[in-house]
Symmetry: D2
Subunit: 136 residues, 4 copies
Amino acid sequence: MTNVQDMLETYPGDLGTIDRDALAECIQACFDCSQACSACADACLAEDMAAELRVCIRTNLDCADLCAVTGRILSRQTGNNLVMIRAALEACRTACRACGDECAQHADMHEHCRICAQACRRCEQACQTLLSSLGR
Amino acid sequence: MTNVQDMLETYPGDLGTIDRDALAECIQACFDCSQACSACADACLAEDMAAELRVCIRTNLDCADLCAVTGRILSRQTGNNLVMIRAALEACRTACRACGDECAQHADMHEHCRICAQACRRCEQACQTLLSSLGR
Amino acid sequence: MTNVQDMLETYPGDLGTIDRDALAECIQACFDCSQACSACADACLAEDMAAELRVCIRTNLDCADLCAVTGRILSRQTGNNLVMIRAALEACRTACRACGDECAQHADMHEHCRICAQACRRCEQACQTLLSSLGR
Amino acid sequence: MTNVQDMLETYPGDLGTIDRDALAECIQACFDCSQACSACADACLAEDMAAELRVCIRTNLDCADLCAVTGRILSRQTGNNLVMIRAALEACRTACRACGDECAQHADMHEHCRICAQACRRCEQACQTLLSSLGR
């Protein structure tokens, strides 16, 4: 998704002091994690033991939703409201941690959970890095 | 949206000790606020002074997104993770407060902002009430 | 969701010749159906026989997504593009028909599927009515 | 977003005869286009001439929504319903064509519109290719 950086660079307003690399990485990680979580929920659903994976499926669905919205909010720069951005990032980080933990428990048995856990870890880290770089 | 209560009542699992009235009200408020914010962003865009309303439009878009996702997360009961639900509710409450404040500034001039600010206030309150009712 | 009508009435631009009652009903039906489908997917997941309901769960997820987006698109009036609106309505109608048919098969056994099938039928009909009212 | 291919390959069910390369490319194009359209709507909003770009902004918002949902639907393989997938792909293709055409009109003046138009064209093509590869 090479457009993320290009779209940031062509934004006509003032991006302020935000760390653009951390922002671009976080946007990419959010979209990527949202896709992985949607696919993992569906892959869990296709397993013979789907009923035993119901908590994983639900966590995947929530994480897919929160990552999608956070990636969208971060893609906007106009009238940036740090309080709102921090709130979205914190919710996304929490979801990625919960989903990464849940998927990691099934990583040995289900390769899709292993890959999804990685996407969640990367997104959790990207949210943390961006949060740390934001002023209060 | 009378189905919200019906869907909660027919949920086959254990809803636990959650306050069902507060939950149903919050789900309804989230969906309603998401619709109002989407419509308000578009109504602002149609105003002659659209360029001066850009912060309002952006805040509306963020709030529409966060309310939609929070309404969806709250519509799920399986494997409820209180840490994640709290994080989503806090982000949604923050967005509704920001959007309600922003729209309230234009309420005298734009009727759509006045209605939208009301929807935001109701949703902010519903998130707060549900958050207060949740155990830690 | 009484705001739908209010937001349409306070739209500052020209709504054109669109049937406002059909539009408002369709917006409401889309948001309602999206909520019901999200809740039904989750209720199916909580059933002991979740694995046997996997097609229903997946159809619910798709229908929830398409209804949410169609409700959002219909909430916007600025620069209405009939080709795009028709395309969204047709996709939503198709999803509601598929999901209504699927849920109806489990309506005797699962009350949440019965309620969800009703929400899908209402939304399918609302999409059809709005489509019929739109000029080409 | 290299996970798209990995998630497809680790799907535990039967992917059937679907063209996996066309599917993976379409999923990626949908997520990419959704991000570009969200960012372009926001960049247009930040332009001095935002009011004159209102049709572009609205089209961007619709296209971002339809691409996000189509990318999600295509990320699911369980109980694939070709009628529903075709309907989503057709709506997404229509939105990408409309948004690509709209953004292309401003491509000389706004670099973000030029990049967004490219993302729309790629996604329109990916939807078309996948549609053509699907049996009836």
